[in-house]
C-alpha cells in the first residue's frame, strides 16, 4: 500500500457543457467524500458555482478559478499539495493535468498524480499511441491513420475507401468528428478539426456495427473487474452520448459478452489504469469480430450512468483505489457485508435516453451523429425493456407520452427520418411500425438490432389494441401497465383523463411495486433504499418509515434552462431535512446528479417525476408532503396537479404558485398591487396579434405556446419580422395562443432571489445583469453585489418584492425578474421556487438560502436576516458557458431564448477582476492582440467608441468589416478593412478568422435575431467553428475594455472561497427556533 497523501488537489470540469455535464459534479463530490473519509485535506478547483462539490461541507478549500494550467499552477504553488486527482473532472481536468505535467509543474512542486499515471492517460488520448499499444496486444482497432495535414487525411481516405470516419484527438464528445462519404466532406471536416486539434484520425467507417461499452475498475494490486456493460440501441456512428443505451447488453451471447470483457481487462491491465475507465467497442452484428474504439482513462458520462444503473459507486471506489487501496478492502456500500471486488448482477434493465434542445437554436443542424449535441439525459429502470423504454421517453419531457400515442415528431419522410437520424428517430421507428412497416425494413434503414425493434413493435401492437378495445378491462389494463403505458398516456389514447385511469387502476388493485437496487440480484439483502417502481412484481421492498417522511422532487433531465443548480437545491434541502430528523425521500431520474446518490437521502426513488409516480410514493411510503420548489420548473409544474389530486404540497400554497405562473392571474395581481409590468396581451389570432403589436409599438416580444419542448421566443422590430415569427410558430389558435409584450430596449435587468415566511421576506439578495434586458437571464452575466444600480432602484425593487411576497403569502424560495430604467421598474416574471441563481447568491453571500427556505417550508420560525446582502468586501461574477461549438450551424448571437448550457462564477476584489476570471473560466483567452469588429447599427457603433479607445490604448490591432472600419477610421483609429463573408473578395473576414489572425470577434447584431443566413451570422459562426472568442453584446464589450484597462492578468488573486467570505464580520444567519410546523396547504 502506497503512503497516503496529506493534501490533495482535485480538478473539476468547470461549466456544464455539451459532452461534459453534471456527471462530473457527481464524480468529484464522491471523490472528495472518499478522501475526507481518510482524513486527507482536500482542495477543489472548480469555477462551477452551481455544483454540489463546491459546497462548504465537502472540500476543505474551494477555489472558484478557471481549470487551466496557469491558475492551477498558482494554486499548487500556494497550497503545496502532495497529490493531484485528474480523473474526476472530465476532459477538462485531464487535459489540464497533461499540460501541467508537460510544463514540468508537477515535478517541480513534487505533486504526485494519484490513480492512473499520466503516461497511461497520454497513451489513451493520443490515438496513434493508443492504436500502437492495441496492436502490440493483438487487440484490433479500426484501420486508421493519425493525420496532421489535410493532404495526409485525403490520402488515407483513398487508401481505406469511403466512407471514412474522421475524428479529432484530445477532444471529447466526438468534437469535430463525423462520417465523411466523399472527398469534399472530408476536406471540410479536416479543416475544422485541425483548427481545434493537432491530430485527425481517419479510419474505416464501421456502419451498422453494435456499439458496446464496459466500465472497468482496476486497483494498484492488479485486481480488475468490469462493473457494467452497456449496449447502444443506436449502432456505431451515433455517439454513445447521443445514443439510447441499455444496461446490461441485451443482444450479446455469453461468448461475446465475456470475450469483450476479457479484452477490456487485458487492455486496462496493459495500460496500467488505476481507478476507473471506460472502453468502447464496435461489434460486428454478423460475426464475433470486434474493434476497440477508445478507452477513456477517467470517470465519464458512461461511468456515472453505470454507477446509477448498478448501484456500484464507481467514483467513490476509484478515489479509494487512487489512494492505493485494493478492491476487496473497500466495503460494498449497499450490502455492507460484501466488498467492492465483485461485478454487479442486475435484475432489471436500465434505459438511458439523451435529452436534446436542438429546436431551441436558430439554424442548428438537427442530424445527430458521432459528435455530441445532447444536453442531458435520463435513466429509467424497469423489469422489462418496454417498461423502462417508455418511462425514459416520458422522463426527457419533450412532450412524449412514451413510445406510443405521440404527435408532432418527425417529418413527412419516414425513410429519411430513419436513415438519417435526428434526435427524434425513435419516434419515427414507432410511426413506421404503426404504419405496418416490417422490422426488417426498419432494420435495413437504421441498423438498429431487430431485438429492439421487435420489442418496440410489441408496444405498438398493444397500443393499437388499446386504442381499439371497447373496454379497458382489468387484464388489458394490467398488460398495458406492464408494458410501460402511463396513466396519462392511456388517458390520451382513450380520450379520458388521467385521474379516471388512476381511479380505475386503484379499483382493480393495479399498483406498481417498489423494487430495490441491491447490486447482487437479491442474493444478499441491501442495507440502502435505492428504489424504483415496476408494474411487474408481487411485493414492495420498502415500507413507510416510522419517522416523518418528506418527499423532495428533483429536477429531472438537465436541459437548457434547468440543470445542476436545481440539483444543488434539492440536495441542500435534503440535507437540512435530514439534520432536522426527517426521513427524506428523493425522487429524480437524472443519472448525472448528486441527488440520485443513494446516500444523499434516506430513500431514493429513481423514477419519473409524474403525478402517477408521486401518487404511488404517497401510497407506499406514506410521505407527509412534497417539496416542489427545489427542482426547478418540472416539479413546480406538478404542484397544482398534485394538490388537486389531494396530495399535500409543502411550502407556498399551490394556489399561489398558480397565481404567479398563470400570466393572466399574475398580471391582475400586479395591477392590484400597483406594480408596473410591460404591456402585454394574449391573443388567439395572428391578425389581432399584429394589431396589438402595432398598438403598443415595436419592438415586441413574441411568445408562441407550444406542444413540444424547445420554443422560439423572439423579438420583432417590425411587421415583416413579426409575421415571420408568427408564421414559424405554426398556427396561432385558441388552444395555442400567442403572447405579445412590449419589449424594452436599454433597460437593466435585475434578478431578485428571496425566501419568505408567511409572506414576509426573511432572506434575499439581488443580482445585476451586466447585459441589458433582452439577453435571457440564464445567458446573462450576473454580478453580486450590484455595481450600477441606483440606491433608489434597489429600494423600489425590495419594496415591490415585499408586496408580491405578501400578496402571494410566499412560504419558501422565490425569484422575481425586474426591468429597470431610470428609477422605474417593471416586473417580468415571478417564480415561487428556487431559481437558477440560488447557489450563486448563497455561495457568494455565504448564506445558504436553501437551508433557510427548507426550514421555512417545514414551519420553523426563522428570523429575518439583518445584514444587508450587498455588504460584501468582494465581488462575484457569474458568467454563462455556451456550447455552440458542438451545435453545428447554431447562431451564437444572444437573445431572449436561453442557449447557454452552463455557468461559472469567480470572485475578485472588484468587479473587473471577478469578471475577467469568469471570462477565462468559460474559455476566453488573454492577452488579446487583434480584434475583428462588425458593430451593427450606428447607435451601437457610437456606444462602443469609448471601448475602442481603450482597446487601442492597449495596443490592440483592429480589423473590421467595411462600415465599421470606416467608422473607426473617421474617429481617428487605424483599422484594416476586411470583406464580408458573402463577398468572395479578399482579404476576407472568414479567412482571417480561420487563420487565427484574430483573437476576439466583436459582432453586434443589427436586429434581435437573424432569421436568415446573413453575413453577420457567418462571421459569428466562423468564430465559433474556429475557436475564436466572440462577443455579441455591447455591455459586455464595454466592461471588457474597462477590465483590460484596469486589471493585468498577474493581478488576479488566487484566493479560496473561504478567504473571501471570512472577511465578512459576524454571522447573521437566521436564528432557528424550536418546533416544526409544516407550512402549506392542508390536504
Amino acid at each position: 500500500m502506497i503512503e497516503h497523501p496529506k493534501k490533495v488537489v482535485i480538478l473539476g470540469s468547470g461549466a456544464l457543457k455539451i459532452g461534459e455535464a453534471g456527471e462530473f459534479d457527481y464524480s468529484g463530490a464522491q471523490a472528495i467524500k472518499a478522501l475526507k473519509q481518510e482524513g486527507i485535506e482536500t482542495i477543489l478547483i472548480n469555477p462551477n458555482i452551481a455544483t454540489i462539490q463546491t459546497s462548504d461541507h465537502l472540500a476543505d478549500r474551494v477555489y472558484f478559478l478557471p481549470v487551466n494550467p496557469d491558475f492551477v499552477e498558482r494554486v499548487i504553488e500556494r497550497e503545496k499539495p502532495d497529490g493531484l486527482l485528474l480523473s474526476f473532472g472530465g476532459q477538462t481536468a485531464l487535459n489540464c493535468g497533461l499540460a501541467l505535467e508537460k510544463r514540468g509543474v508537477l515535478a517541480k512542486h513534487n505533486v504526485r498524480v494519484l490513480g492512473t499515471p499520466v503516461e497511461a492517460i497520454r497513451d489513451t488520448e493520443d490515438r496513434e499511441l493508443f492504436v500502437r499499444r492495441l496492436d502490440k496486444l493483438g487487440v484490433p482497432s479500426p484501420r486508421s491513420r493519425a493525420c496532421t495535414t489535410l493532404e495526409e487525411a485525403l490520402a488515407t481516405a483513398e487508401e481505406l475507401g469511403y466512407p471514412v470516419m474522421a475524428r479529432a484527438a484530445f477532444a471529447l464528445g466526438g468534437l469535430g468528428s463525423g462520417v465523411c462519404r466523399d472527398k469534399a466532406q472530408l476536406t471540410e471536416r479536416a479543416h475544422k478539426a485541425l483548427a481545434l486539434s493537432p491530430q485527425l484520425l481517419v479510419e474505416e467507417y464501421l456502419e451498422g456495427w453494435k456499439e458496446i461499452e464496459y466500465e472497468v475498475v482496476r486497483d494498484a494490486a492488479d485486481n480488475c473487474i468490469t462493473v457494467c456493460n452497456m449496449e447502444n440501441l443506436d449502432p456505431l456512428g451515433i455517439h454513445t452520448g447521443e445514443s439510447i443505451v441499455v444496461a446490461p447488453s441485451q443482444t450479446l451471447t455469453n461468448r461475446e459478452y465475456h470475450m469483450l470483457r476479457e479484452v477490456a481487462i487485458r487492455v486496462v491491465r496493459d495500460l496500467g489504469i488505476v481507478g476507473e475507465c471506460n472502453i468502447q467497442y464496435a461489434l460486428d452484428p454478423k460475426s464475433e469480430r470486434y474493434r476497440v474504439i477508445e478507452v477513456n482513462a477517467r470517470l465519464s458520462r458512461s461511468s456515472a450512468l453505470a454507477s446509477k444503473a448498478t448501484g456500484y459507486p464507481l467514483a467513490f471506489v476509484a478515489a479509494k483505489l487512487a489512494l492505493g487501496y485494493s478492491l476487496h478492502e473497500i466495503p460494498n456500500a449497499i450490502t455492507k457485508v460484501t466488498t467492492a471486488f465483485f461485478e454487479p448482477a442486475l435484475d432489471y434493465i436500465v434505459v438511458k435516453v439523451p435529452r436534446w434542445d436542438l429546436r431551441k437554436f436558430r439554424h442548428a443542424v438537427r442530424r445527430i451523429g458521432s459528435s455530441m449535441k445532447s444536453v442531458g439525459e435520463v435513466m429509467a429502470i424497469g423489469r422489462t425493456f418496454e417498461e423502462a423504454m417508455q418511462k425514459a421517453l416520458r422522463m426527457i419531457e419533450v412532450g412524449a407520452m412514451g413510445l406510443y400515442a405521440n404527435s408532432g415528431f418527425g417529418s413527412e419522410d419516414l425513410a429519411t427520418d430513419l436513415a438519417e437520424p435526428t434526435e427524434e428517430r425513435i419516434f419515427s421507428v414507432v410511426e413506421a411500425l404503426d404504419q405496418g412497416w416490417t422490422v426488417d425494413r426498419i432494420h435495413a434503414l437504421t441498423h438498429i438490432d431487430r431485438w429492439f425493434l421487435h420489442k418496440i413493435a410489441g408496444v405498438v401492437r398493444l397500443g393499437q389494441r388499446l386504442r381499439a378495445a371497447e373496454e379497458l378491462d382489468a387484464p388489458l389494463l394490467r398488460e398495458a401497465k406492464r408494458m410501460g403505458f402511463a396513466d396519462r398516456q392511456l388517458a390520451r389514447m382513450r380520450s379520458g383523463d388521467e385521474d379516471a385511469i388512476r381511479a380505475l387502476r386503484t379499483a382493480h388493485g393495479i399498483h406498481p411495486v417498489l423494487r430495490q437496487i441491491d447490486t447482487l440480484a437479491a442474493e444478499y439483502p441491501a442495507r440502502t433504499n435505492y428504489l424504483y417502481f415496476s408494474y411487474h412484481g408481487l411485493e414492495d421492498e420498502a415500507a413507510a418509515s416510522p419517522q416523518r417522511s418528506i418527499l423532495i422532487l428533483g429536477s429531472g433531465a438537465y436541459r437548457i434552462g434547468s440543470s445542476v443548480e436545481f440539483d444543488w437545491c434539492a440536495v441542500n434541502a435534503a440535507m437540512t431535512l435530514r439534520k432536522a430528523g426527517f426521513n427524506t425521500v428523493m425522487l429524480n431520474c437524472n443519472p448525472e446528479t448528486v441527488s440520485t446518490d443513494y446516500d444523499e437521502s434516506d430513500m431514493l426513488v429513481f423514477d419519473e417525476l409524474s403525478l402517477e409516480t408521486i401518487a404511488e410514493i404517497f401510497r407506499t411510503l406514506r410521505v407527509e408532503g412534497a417539496i416542489v420548489s427545489m427542482g426547478g420548473q418540472t416539479p413546480n409544474n406538478l404542484a397544482l396537479k398534485l394538490h388537486r389530486a389531494g396530495f399535500r404540497i409543502l411550502g407556498t400554497a399551490p394556489e399561489s404558485i398558480d397565481r404567479a405562473e398563470n400570466r393572466l392571474r399574475f398580471s391582475a395581481l400586479l395591477d392590484e398591487l400597483g406594480v408596473d409590468q410591460p404591456e402585454w396581451a394574449q391573443l388567439a389570432d395572428g391578425a389581432e396579434a399584429k394589431l396589438f403589436a402595432n398598438k403598443i409599438g415595436y419592438p415586441v416580444l413574441v411568445r408562441p405556446s407550444y406542444v413540444l419542448s424547445g420554443s422560439a421566443m423572439a423579438v420583432a422590430s417590425n411587421d415583416a419580422e413579426f409575421e415571420r415569427f408568427i408564421g414559424r410558430a405554426a398556427a396561432v389558435s385558441r388552444e395555442y395562443p400567442v403572447v405579445i409584450s412590449k419589449f424594452f430596449d436599454n433597460a437593466k435587468e435585475i434578478e431578485f432571489d428571496g425566501v419568505a415566511q408567511d409572506g414576509e421576506i426573511v432572506e434575499y439578495a439581488f443580482c445585476e445583469h451586466v447585459e441589458n434586458a433582452g439577453v435571457h437571464s440564464g445567458d446573462a452575466t450576473l454580478v453580486l453585489p450590484p455595481q450600477r444600480i441606483y440606491l433608489e432602484t434597489m429600494r423600489v425593487v425590495l419594496e415591490t418584492a415585499r408586496k408580491i411576497a405578501a400578496a402571494l403569502r410566499i412560504n419558501g424560495p422565490f425569484n422575481i425578474q425586474f426591468l429597470a430604467r431610470k428609477n422605474f421598474i417593471k416586473v417580468i416574471e415571478c417564480n415561487l421556487r428556487a431559481s437558477r441563481s440560488f447557489p450563486f447568491v448563497s455561495k457568494v453571500a455565504n448564506r445558504n438560502f436553501i437551508d433557510t427556505a427548507t426550514r421555512v417550508i417545514m414551519g420553523e420560525r426563522v428570523a429575518p436576516a439583518t445584514r444587508p446582502f450587498f455588504d460584501l468586501p468582494y465581488v462575484a461574477v457569474k458568467a454563462p458557458h455556451f456550447s455552440f461549438l458542438r451545435l453545428e450551424g447554431a447562431d451564437p448571437a444572444l437573445g431572449v431564448e436561453m442557449t447557454s448550457t452552463g455557468e461559472v462564477a469567480c470572485f475578485g476584489d472588484n468587479f473587473y477582476e471577478a469578471f475577467l476570471k469568469s471570462l477565462i473560466a468559460v474559455g476566453y483567452r488573454f492577452p488579446i492582440k487583434s480584434i475583428l469588429i462588425s458593430s451593427g447599427d450606428i447607435a451601437s457603433k457610437a456606444e462602443l467608441l469609448e471601448s475602442m479607445k481603450a482597446f487601442a490604448d492597449l495596443g490592440i490591432q483592429f480589423y473590421a468589416t467595411m462600415g465599421s472600419a470606416l467608422f473607426l477610421i473617421e474617429n481617428g483609429f487605424s483599422a484594416t478593412a476586411l470583406h464580408w463573408p458573402m463577398e468572395t473578395k479578399k482579404p476576407n473576414t472568414i479567412d482571417y478568422i480561420r487563420e487565427k489572425k484574430i483573437d476576439l470577434v466583436i459582432n453586434i447584431p443589427k436586429n434581435y435575431q437573424d432569421d436568415e443566413l446573413t453575413n453577420d451570422y457567418l462571421i459569428r459562426r466562423a468564430a465559433v467553428d474556429f475557436g475564436v472568442p466572440l462577443l455579441t453584446n455591447r455591455q459586455l464589450v464595454r466592461r471588457l475594455a474597462e477590465a483590460l484597462t484596469y486589471i493585468k492578468p498577474d493581478q488576479m488573486q488566487i484566493r479560496s472561497w473561504n478567504e473571501y467570505t471570512s472577511r465578512v464580520a459576524g454571522d447573521t444567519a437566521p436564528a432557528p427556533s424550536r418546533g416544526h410546523r409544516p407550512a402549506g396547504a392542508i390536504s
Binding site: D222, P248, T339, A345, D347, I349, D449, H454, G537, E539
Partner: protein, 365 residues
C-alpha cells in the same frame, strides 16, 4: 441470420411455479407444455442461458434466472460433433425446467436458428415466463433452496428431491471417449463434465480421455487427472471417492473442479455440507490465499467443503470474498489442487482459465 416471426401467435397456456412451502407464482408456459418437479435454484448471471441449461450440474434442478430478460439471442441450430457446438455444455438440456420473468420469443442473433422456447420444447423441457423472479429469489435467500414444480395447464405432479438420487450416474458419459492429440495424456473423470473443461484441455495440446464416473481410473497411468464438475450431493459418488483416494496418494497431478473439488475433499477425509442456497452466478468473487489476488468466477454449486476438516498437508487455496466459504485447496507438493468455481467458465468470466495453464505446467513438469 434474419428472423421475421409472425406477429400473431397462439396465446401461451397458463403455468404455475409451486414451491414446497406452498407459495405459488403464476405465469405463462413456454418450452414443452409439460409439468415437472425438481429443486428450485436461482442463478444471477445475465448472459449464457444455453450454457447454463446444458450444464450437467443442473440435473434435477429447476433453474430460475434472476436477470429478467431471457431468450434474446435465441439458440444455435444443431448440436453435432464430438466437441459440440459452442453454447452447449453437454448434448442436451440438463435442467428440469426454466423460470424467467420476461421471455423474448422474438430473438435476434446472427448465430441463432431457433428460439429458446423452440429449443426447450424440442428437448421436452418446460419453462415459465412472467414470474416475479426477484420475489422468488428473496424467498429462496430467506428460506434456503426448496423443492418446487412447474405446473402447466393445471396438470399437477409430485415433488421430486434430486438429492435422493445419484445424479452423477445419470449425467456421466456412458463409455470412455478420447479427444485431442498430443504427448501428454489426461484422464477426465466425468461426473457430469462440462464440454468446456475438455475444450480447455484439448486447446492446450493435451490428449484427453474422458471416463465415466464409475470407471476404474486407478488403472490408467495418465500424466494428470481432472475431476470434473457435476450435480448433486458429492457423497453420492462413493465409488469415485474411493478410487480418488488412491489417486491422491500418488504423485500424478490432479485438478478438481466444483463437484470434483468436493469429491477430492471427501477422499481426503474432509467434510462437505449443503449451503443454504448455494452459489450460482458469474460474479462470485474469490481471493487466493497464497498471494491475496482476487478473481471473479463463475459458480454453480449447492455443496461446499468445510475447510477446517482438511488434512494437514492440504491448505485452502481460494476463499469466497462474499461469505468466506472455501473455494479451493491445494496439496503441499503443489501438484494437486482443486477449485470450487469454474475456470472453464461457459457461462461466465474467463479470468481463472489460467488455472488450466498451471495444471498444464504441473503435468509437463
Amino acid at each position: 441470420m434474419s428472423n421475421t416471426p409472425a406477429p400473431k401467435r397462439a396465446p401461451r397456456p397458463p403455468a404455475e411455479l409451486v414451491l414446497a412451502n406452498g407459495m405459488r407464482f403464476s405465469g405463462e408456459s413456454f418450452g414443452a407444455p409439460a409439468s415437472r418437479a425438481g429443486e428450485i435454484v436461482f442463478n444471477t448471471g445475465m448472459v449464457g442461458y444455453p450454457e447454463a441449461l446444458t450444464d450437467p450440474s443442473y440435473r434435477g434442478q429447476i433453474l430460475a434466472l434472476t436477470y429478467p430478460l431471457q431468450g434474446n439471442y435465441g439458440m444455435q441450430g444443431g448440436s453435432e460433433g464430438a466437441l459440440r457446438s459452442v453454447g452447449m455444455e453437454s448434448d442436451r438440456i440438463q435442467a428440469s425446467g426454466l423460470v424467467v420473468a420476461d421471455y423474448a420469443e422474438d430473438f435476434s442473433h446472427w448465430s441463432a436458428g431457433r428460439s429458446l422456447g423452440e429449443w426447450l420444447a424440442s428437448e421436452g423441457v418446460p419453462a415459465i415466463t412472467g414470474v416475479d423472479t426477484r420475489a422468488l429469489t428473496r424467498v429462496i435467500r430467506q428460506h434456503g433452496t426448496m423443492l418446487g414444480k412447474i405446473i402447466v395447464a393445471g396438470a399437477d405432479v409430485p415433488y421430486y428431491d434430486p438429492d435422493a438420487d445419484n445424479l452423477v450416474a445419470q449425467v456421466s458419459a456412458g463409455a470412455p471417449e478420447e479427444f485431442g492429440s498430443g504427448t501428454w495424456r489426461i484422464v477426465v473423470v466425468d461426473c457430469g463434465c462440462k464440454e468446456n473443461i475438455v475444450r480447455n484441455l484439448a486447446e492446450r495440446g493435451l490428449r484427453v480421455k474422458r471416463v465415466p464416473w464409475d470407471y476404474d481410473f486407478t488403472q490408467e497411468k495418465p500424466d494428470g487427472f481432472v475431476m470434473s464438475n457435476g450435480p448433486g450431493d458429492p457423497t453420492m459418488a462413493r465409488p469415485t471417492i474411493e478410487r480418488l483416494r488412491e489417486v491422491l496418494r500418488g504423485d500424478t497431478p490432479v485438478m478438481g473442479i466444483c463437484l470434483g473439488h468436493q469429491l477430492m475433499a471427501l477422499a481426503l477425509g474432509a467434510k462437505t455440507y449443503k449451503l443454504k442456497f448455494g452459489h450460482r452466478g458469474q460474479n462470485q468473487p474469490v481471493r487466493r490465499t497464497t498471494d491475496g489476488r482476487c478473481f471473479i468466477t463463475s459458480q454453480n454449486h449447492s455443496f461446499a467443503v468445510d475447510e477446517k476438516t482438511l488434512p494437514q498437508d492440504w491448505e485452502p487455496l481460494f476463499t469466497n470474498l462474499n461469505d468466506g466459504t472455501n473455494e479451493g485447496m491445494r496439496h503441499a507438493s503443489g501438484t494437486k489442487f482443486s477449485v470450487q468455481f469454474h475456470p472453464e467458465a461457459a457461462p461466465g468470466p474467463v479470468d481463472t482459465a489460467t488455472l488450466f495453464d498451471e495444471f498444464l505446467a504441473k503435468v509437463q513438469a
